[in-house]
Each structure stands twice: as C-alpha cells, then as structure tokens.
Symmetry: C2
Subunit: 396 residues, 2 copies
C-alpha cells in the first residue's frame, strides 16, 4: 500500500512512539502522523526533497518543534514524506523521488509542496501530517486531495527545526481527513482549546469565485450555501480591489527573491542538482530588481489593510482554495507554470497578509476534489476550525 502511494522519502518510513499517557490520556494517543521532509526528526536526515540538500546538511539531533509537540501529545510519527525540492513547487512532482499518489484522483498531481504528507493522509496511511505553507503548499494539496488543511496565522507557531523558504511567509500547517481529527490536532498545535463558538458573519469573495473556473464555482456552491446557513449575516465583497493578479504578482516577486536569499549560499557553494524549473525559479528570484521588490512590499501593506478591514473578529471570508482541481501529471513546463500562476493568484494573500486559512473538502469537478477556503483575522485560527466542524455536522 505505502509503495503504491509513494508518500515517503527513501528510508523515511519508521515509527517513533508518542508520549505514553499519564493519569489523563494524552489528547492524540493512538493517532499517527507523518512529517514533510522539511521537518527535523532526530536521527534522520532532513532531505528537503533534494539529495544534495540531504548530503550537505547534518542529520539533526533534535526534533522540530511541531514534531515534538505532536509526539508529546501522544501521537506516533510513522515517517517522513516527499516534498517539492526545498519546498519550491506547487504541483507536487519531484523528479528525484517521484510523484506521491493523489488517491482521490490517481491520474492527477497531489499538489505541493506538501505532496507526500497530503498523499499519506488522503490514502489513510496516517491520521494527520505536518506540512508547510509559504505560497500555498498546504492549502493547494488539501484542495487537490480532498482534505482539511490549515495555514495558521503567520508567526503564531514556533518554526524551529523546519527548513525555511521565505521567512516572511513561512508557516507550519497540517492535514486531516475528518473535522474531529482536524480539531484535535489543531488544538494541540495551536495550544488552544477549540470550543463550538463560530463566526456570525460571512463575506463571499466574489472576485475569487469569478477568477476560478465556472465548474469549480458550481461544485463549491452547495457548501457555500451550507456555510451561509450557519451565520447571521452574509455579504458579497470584492476581496482584492487591486486585483487578485496584482496580489499574485506581488507575492511572485517577494517570495522568489526571499527564497534566493535563503538558498543562495548553498546554491553558490555546492552547485546542487535541481529540477530545471526549480533552478529557474531560483534564478528568477536572484534577478528581482530592487525597485520591484520595494513596490511589491508596498502592495503587501495594502493586502494586509484590505483583509483586516474585511475580517473583523467574528467575520469569515469564503473563497475557492484553488481555481480548479488537480491538473494531470506530467504536463510540459510552460503549462505547469501557467497553472501555477493561476493557482498563485488565489493563494498569494496567505503569504502577503499572514491571516489564517482553512481549506475544507468542497466538491468534485470531473470526479476530482476541489476545496473551499475560509479565512479569518489574525489569531482567529480556532474559529475557523470550529466552523469547519459545524459545517461537517451540518452536511451529515
């Protein structure tokens, strides 16, 4: 089974038992999880999806904070999972380790860069799993694999032991197949009890629904209606007055430039082997003009201001997670990059504004999953989880 899914890195299947239960059962006792190969696990190499990164970096002697936190809560770690190379990718195809299987749509990509974690959770190999989301790397595979996935408030979780990409956008996220597991894991990682209180106001992002393919909007509309039934007040708003593509371009300026700053020492020192498109992204990052970077940062301020205005406490915004379900595997690069940029236009606000976002299994387009996202203001992560639970109850 695990072989077919191809979720794990070479030698990345093992078992580290969670903390034994005390007088009270630990909250995640009996639950299993995987960790994207960006997270340190003591005694196992951190490969970052690239054999030369693994070669050039020492095997860690301590667990990453998120790994340790889940182990302390009683969950058992069953392996390390494939990621796009040093998290630079959104589709989940890694030429060194292969493409993890999207068991919900086997001829399609799983989404990335948290591809192996999403594949492992979707296939039922484990209950939950750690990923990272800088430009969409949890939200996109959650959407494509039909999972719950969260990108928490930026800066909220301790990222110690997680390989960085673009620190001003990096977050640790996680996945689950059902809302109850998602809630339990979220409570542990957020360090917050998650009660049943839910937001009272819903904003529907009409520009985001207009940006995505009509089939996706149609597939998500029953869930949007169900969501509307759970709140007191529903309004439609333009999420990005400047344009989702303007937001996308700003993130596509800042993130590659920051990734180049993160990886340039390693790259220039060791000349690593990389998939061409990963290398090209790094080169593009190295070429971002100072003025473009400067004005993209100005746009970031506007994105933050806009979303804080739209999302006072108690308000949640609904939008499609991705403009379409998972693309087919093995597309030419020009087509991959076209699709990546379309996806990015719906994901850029995450890295730009740092607000929490949960992707919920939303519907099917041509039999393939696509997710509905809910966003809230800073530190309102728990309200998104509560709402996801209420929505699952309302559907069943």
């Amino acid at each position: 089974m695990a072989d077919i899914i191809n979720a794990f890195v070479d030698g990345g299947e093992f078992r580290i038992e969670g903390a034994a239960q005390g007088s009270l059962a630990n909250p995640l006792t009996g639950r299993s999880f995987v960790a994207k190969d960006l997270f340190d696990v003591a005694g196992y190499p951190t490969g970052g999806g690239n054999p030369d990164w693994q070669r050039d970096n020492p095997t860690p002697t301590a667990h990453a904070w998120a790994v340790q936190t889940l182990l302390d809560a009683g969950a058992s770690l069953i392996g390390k999972t494939i990621t796009d190379e040093v998290s630079l990718g959104i589709l989940g195809e890694n030429p060194f380790y292969g493409t993890p299987l999207n068991s919900a749509a086997p001829d399609r990509v799983p989404g990335g860069s948290s591809s192996g974690t999403a594949a492992a959770v979707a296939a039922g190999l484990c209950d939950t799993g750690l990923g990272s989301d800088t430009g969409g790397s949890v939200r996109v595979p959650a959407s494509f694999c039909g999972l719950y996935g969260i990108r928490p408030t930026h800066g909220r979780l301790d990222l110690t032991g997680m390989l960085p990409q673009a620190p001003s956008s990096d977050t640790t996220g996680w996945f689950a197949r059902d809302a109850a597991t998602f809630r339990d894991v979220s409570s542990v990682l957020l360090g917050e009890t998650i009660d049943t209180s839910t937001p009272t106001r819903l904003v529907i992002a009409v520009d985001a629904f207009g940006f995505c393919e009509p089939e996706t909007t149609r597939a998500l509309s029953p869930l949007v209606e169900a969501l509307a039934g759970l709140v007191d007040d529903v309004t439609e708003e333009v999420m990005a007055p400047q344009g989702l593509s303007v937001w996308g371009r700003a993130q596509r300026t800042l993130q590659p430039a920051e990734a180049w700053a993160t990886f340039s020492d390693w790259v220039e020192r060791t000349n690593p082997r990389l998939a061409f498109n990963v290398a090209r992204g790094l080169v593009m990052g190295s070429q971002v003009p100072e003025a473009d970077w400067h004005w993209a940062n100005m746009m970031r301020r506007e994105v933050r201001a806009r979303l804080e205005y739209l999302l006072p406490p108690g308000t949640v915004l609904a939008m499609p997670t991705t403009p379409f379900p998972a693309p087919k595997k093995g597309l030419p690069l020009a087509e991959q990059n076209r699709l990546r940029d379309l996806i990015l236009c719906l994901c850029a606000h995450g890295g730009l504004a740092g607000l929490p976002q949960v992707s919920i299994p939303g519907g099917l387009v041509d039999g393939a999953p696509v997710g509905l996202s809910i966003l809230a203001g800073r530190m309102e992560d728990a309200r998104l989880i509560s709402l996801a639970c209420a929505l699952e109850n309302a559907r069943t």
Copy 2:
C-alpha cells in the same frame, strides 16, 4: 586504474574492435580510443553527461560518423567518457558522474566539457579520444591536462551522431599524448594526408599573451621561441582590436542563446535534473534580448574578417590556449564563473570565426600544464598538425 581516473560513464567501458586489416594495414590498427558521451555508439545509450538526457533519448542504432571513421581505420573503441552536462561547462565537474581525474594535476579540474576523454588519454587508458569543441571544450582540457588537442575548421567534419549544442560553433575534436599519434588520427578524421610542410610565417598575439597570467606567458615563452625558429618571419600583432573581452561577450551571447534553442524543447517538456549552474546558463540563454543577439552576430563578422586578414595561407598565429593552468576542484560558483569568463575570452574566437586551432603541451605553472595554441586559416588544419610535429621534433 580506470576507477581512479573516473573517465568513463556508468556502463561506458566496453570494447568494440576496429576493422580488421586488409591487404594494407589500416592506419590506426592497434590504436585504442574513447568517445565523449555526446557521440552515438550503436547499442549504447548516449547520455550527454545527464541521466535524464539518457532516459529521454533512444539508444542509438548507428555509430556517429567520427566513431565509425576511427573504427574503419582500425582503431578500437574502449568506452564512453564523462562530459559536462549536455556539453555546457568548461571546468569538467559533473555532479552526476563525478570529476574525471586530471592525472597531470590531481587536485585540479581536468577541464571540460570533454573531461573524461582528456582524462582517459592523459592517464594512458587509450591512445586518442573524441571530444567536441563549441566554446573551448577540447582546447581547454587539452591545455589543462597537458595534451595535444584540435578544434578543426568549423563545418569540415561530418557531425552526424554527435549531440549538438550550438550548431554555428560546434565541432568534433580529438586528443593525443604525442604528436605522431595526433598526426595519424588527424589524417584519418580530416581525410587528408599530412605531409611535413609547415607554415612560413608566425604571428604572435600580443593581446592574448597580455591577457593571460604572467606566469603562463613565462611558461610558454620557450615554446614560442622554438616555434619562431621554425618559420621565416615572425611578427607581433593585436589579435582582437575590438578587445578579447568584446569577443568573449559576443560568444557568451550567441552560444547560450543557441544552446537554449537546441535544448529548450527537451527542458520544457521533461523538466530535467541539472546542476544549478547548467540550469542557470540555460535560463540566461533563454533571456538573451534579440538586439544583443543581433549585435553579437555583427561582431562575429568582424572577428571572422580580422582573423582571415591575419591568417593568409602559410601563416600561423600563436597564443596561450588558456590564461592559466587548471583551477582547483570544487570552487564556489561565483569563482568558477569568473574563471570561466576569463577562459572564454581566449577561446571565443573559435566559435565566432570557426578557424582551426591546435593546442600543444606548452609548459608548467606551479607544476600544472598549460597549453600553447596555434591557429591557421580555414581548411589549413593539416598545416597546424605538421607544425606541431615539427615542434615536437625540434624540442627533442
């Protein structure tokens, strides 16, 4: 022995016997050769120094023209040798297959892209070997490994079955340790009897000797004097009135742009794994502005005109092959690229003008070889070989 040299690609050591001798002995009977892994050998994959190129291309069913020609002349092929990836490199470090040993200077690079062929010939694993020279890929490893090497007149040899890079500059070249073997192989591949008549006039390229490091100029001066003793008339001239760096920049514009045209279909279709610097070179090639390409072609006309003016029949030009001996292995990329561009300034005329050039073992700098080059007019290849033989005789 062969293991230490690391000249051969995986599975690239074998033996294909040369044609049995007829009533007259074939000219290369008893001689052995290797072929850079850009040359087709029927029944063996053409890897081009990259595992994904090998995966994506069918195993050839016919020998490359140059391979067949040497076999027909009685030489035996003993293997396929490591090259910089798809011939894009000048130092000879390949992270997929390792760096072939420069047995004349083991802590230094062998030079590339014909690295494995030069290493095999230098170590005495074979008598001669096939390489290719687009921007210096025979001349540079010949200089660094202390070998005879030729870049013949562009367009003279049939390149069928040799993986192209930049067709307006591509040539098939070869190496030998001694002038007699070099002459015999050259006679076969050029299809021309090589008599003992030598050029009568020598031009010393003062700008090229000024461009290279003073130690290199000093190391080569005894050989330049010996060369002067073989001709009737010696003059000093500026080779590149526009500047060797202007010539270098023109070639560094045209060649990467043409390489991108050659490889872009493969790259965009398959997203191959490449060393970062190889990928960066391709990206740079994809970004050459049309106007830069246009004016670089204008400069190419000027280079051709200048060298044709300097090199009427019977005249030969002497210059250092490289500005210094082989650099140390494993330098950071910024330093590698700085050295590459210095080397390129002394090699660019080859691709730009297409004139024949022979590199002769020239001298030692800090114990490492550096080559002296002689150039002649179009189709004067045989006169360069004759002169190399006469010079070897004069030295011994």
